[in-house]
Symmetry: C2
Subunit: 435 residues, 2 copies
């Protein structure tokens, strides 16, 4: 006899499996598949030697080793918080004091993902509103679903989030009396996951101005997710949105060591207003009372020695080459395919690929055709939320060149073309062999 | 002009700073203080060499190094899950199949703390009931406060949680119609934090029987927090409560590598029913999509080489010696102090010290007297929740010999005696110098 059923929380009942789980499983099950789906980083360039050197240094000194293996603090290692602040302010060309910041305004989390989660927990009750770009980082959308928050979206163009549309949306919400429910504006402003697009300078300023202007009765925060910022290989140097918030009041800046260094260390960080930080730390005290201390000591050591900076520099070349390869493969395979368009990212590892008139979704013809051809992508619709009428674009693909090797990139795009040709030729949809 | 106020979630508004923060701060500010307050582990015995050896091995092999530095999975490293299952079943003297368990029933978390949090998130809506021992692990109580759960308690004696009282409480709740709100029974069943007490064999069986008996309309889970289990240095070997749940339905077993190995790796685990695991992993996908992968690889390597097991064995001697020192210091200092009683733990690192008639709380006379004498403890009331009349015991102290060195233990107890004598003599309460 089965036991009595569980009686789970509302939050748990709102939380479903990530739609991408199926795709990851598929990829693992299909030998020889080229995966542009997984958001993993390039393997060959992982800083194995650099981490070994840092580990050896720390763990050859009993005192330093003991400190790294003891519990750290909920807030994070003080020296690493100082280094993070210097890193970000260095990228912005300012001094911490110009932005009213000290290392106490920084916290260290289990990847930047944990920060996204914690901020959500601190800010959202069911029914609250988050405004994000369309499309956006789909794991963030799952998280909002757990919190019961409603996602309203603003379109993007080649300059990133359309801030005029944001302004108009907020105005409509004010007029409908819904402004009190608006808590956060979320943007992945550098080489966005999933589109590869970057927010322009002018819009960065406008974004802060807009958030302030609508923060009359309560504060609307901007969540600036700069996960890919350090992987810039072309285009202008753009200051953070945070740098336009000199009193440290409106912008939560978060980034991560996963992309420019190593995801296996699972260490991210945020720079944020003190009255947002304090409640985040109170909750983090219950989540884990501090992220992995050894990872923090390793990263701090690598930043102090310069190994971190040298490695990030190397990665920019690695990913530039991979992007160039993917772009030239797309160019040669899809030149004569008028339905296809794609973005040209200045950093990170995502190309957004649009196919007019082709359903790229999990139930459309392209997924099985691609699997049959031996390639996998993330359906673009996972990054969208349905509009009021239940509609969303279903003709886009996220192509990630993060983990695919250089030969795989060329071969994978060739296979994608094969799949598109098969779909265009109206070949009957058929389940791929072996899955 | 200050910015508009934040409008935070209900959960955030329920979450306050941990009461112990003040005590940790005090300890850091007071030079020369002996701290029996912090729940940190012994520093001198941290496995610095063992972790260095594992790190060198992994990171000298490019393939193994890359795997450890890449993202892992939300569920946790498969090999480590297998090792964890063998470890726990080995302690219980059973085969995984006897308990209907496979490595898929194990998950890896950011310390066992994260498991406690996630299970709470999956199970509790505001107003739900958790039954715990009095006193209990105070960080768990803070977490329940965030979730809005109500804590009802059952007294303990030298055999751990009083299961007859638990039965009676559940019966009362059934009769008052409150049973549907009861979700979890929480017990730290080995060398409990904070009392050092252990649940007896007979009560382990009874606990499962009781949970089953009241699980008529919905399932009541037992959360078995075995954080200190591997640090047993005397007394009988006791099987887990989990081992009395052969169908893997009622008991969530959680433990950690923080205590028997290194908190700086911040890795814990759980063995749990599949219909509890799945929703936990869904939420963990939003929290962080996987705990630090490098830590998992280090631990797996140390378990495979036997370094982990040898180190845990060494720690049992370290903590036995520290316990013996604390007990003999208590014996010699408090023999002639009839108001004082204390527990004798068979493992872990907590002694529970009761002082009849003395207010040990943060606003009582002993805290400042102890600080003046140069010693700090955790007031016992932090482990209690007020009863219906707002009452709770206020004459207990948690004494942790985890991080204090051997000379500090003897000296700290001497100082505690001095503080008690000062309070007993009615010396006027006075703020300690320099704080
Ligand atoms: C936009 C964005 N934000 C945050 C994250 C979280 O990464 P991590 O938790 O490893 O820092 C990712 C990972 O893919 C991402 O793409
Ligand atoms: C009873 C108990 N459970 C769980 C934990 C959590 O420890 P960790 O998250 O390091 O595994 C602790 C730590 O002090 C504890 O005392």
């Amino acid at each position: 006899m089965p036991p009595a059923p569980l009686s789970r929380s509302g939050k748990s009942r709102r939380t479903t499996d990530s739609p991408i789980t199926y795709f990851i499983k598929k990829a693992l099950e299909t030998p020889g598949l080229v995966s542009f789906a997984a958001g993993l980083v390039d393997e060959g360039s992982l800083p194995v030697d650099e981490v070994r050197a840092a580990a050896t240094e720390i763990l050859s000194d009993p005192r330093a080793g003991q400190t790294a293996l003891q519990y750290g603090s909920t807030h994070g290692m003080p020296e690493l918080r100082r280094q993070v602040l210097d890193l970000v302010c260095g990228l912005d060309g300012v001094n911490p004091s110009d932005l009213n910041l000290t290392p106490n305004d920084v916290c260290i989390t289990t990847g930047s993902q944990q920060l996204l989660y914690l901020l959500g927990e601190v800010m959202f009750d069911p029914g609250d509103i988050v405004i994000s770009e369309a499309p956006s980082y789909f794991v963030y959308h799952s998280l909002l679903q757990s919190h019961g928050a409603e996602v309203l979206t603003v379109p993007m163009d080649e300059h990133g989030m359309d801030v005029d549309a944001l302004d108009a949306l907020l105005d409509r919400l004010r007029r409908s009396g819904d402004l009190p429910r608006v808590k956060v504006i979320y943007t992945v402003d550098y080489f966005q996951n999933p589109t590869g697009l970057t927010l322009s300078l002018e819009r960065r300023k406008r974004l802060v101005e807009i958030a302030k202007r609508y923060s009359t009765a309560h504060r609307i925060l901007i969540l600036e997710d700069a996960a890919y910022r350090e992987l810039k290989f072309s285009g202008p140097d753009l200051p953070s949105i945070k740098s336009f918030d000199p009193a440290n009041e409106f912008v939560v800046y978060t980034s991560t060591f996963s992309k420019p260094c190593a995801p296996g260390l699972k260490t991210g960080y945020a720079i944020l207003p003190p009255d947002v930080l304090a409640p985040i730390l109170h909750l983090k005290g219950s989540h884990d009372f501090g992220s992995t201390n050894l990872s923090q000591h390793l990263l701090s050591r690598m930043m102090a020695s310069g190994a971190y900076q040298a490695h990030a520099e190397k990665l920019r070349t690695v990913y530039r080459n991979k992007r160039d390869l993917m772009l030239s493969a797309l160019e040669s395979e899809f030149r004569d395919f008028p339905a296809a368009r794609w973005t040209v990212p200045d950093g990170g590892f995502y190309v957004w690929f649009t196919l007019d008139g082709v359903d790229t979704g999990p139930n459309g013809p392209l997924v099985p055709a691609a699997l049959e051809a031996g390639v996998l992508y993330v359906p673009g619709e996972f990054g969208h939320v349905p509009d009021a009428n239940g509609h969303m674009p279903k003709n886009e693909c996220r192509l990630c060149y993060g983990v695919a090797t250089e030969p795989e990139i060329t071969e994978g795009i060739r296979r994608l073309r094969k799949a598109c040709a098969a779909v265009a030729a109206g070949k009957p949809k058929k389940e791929p062999v072996g899955v």
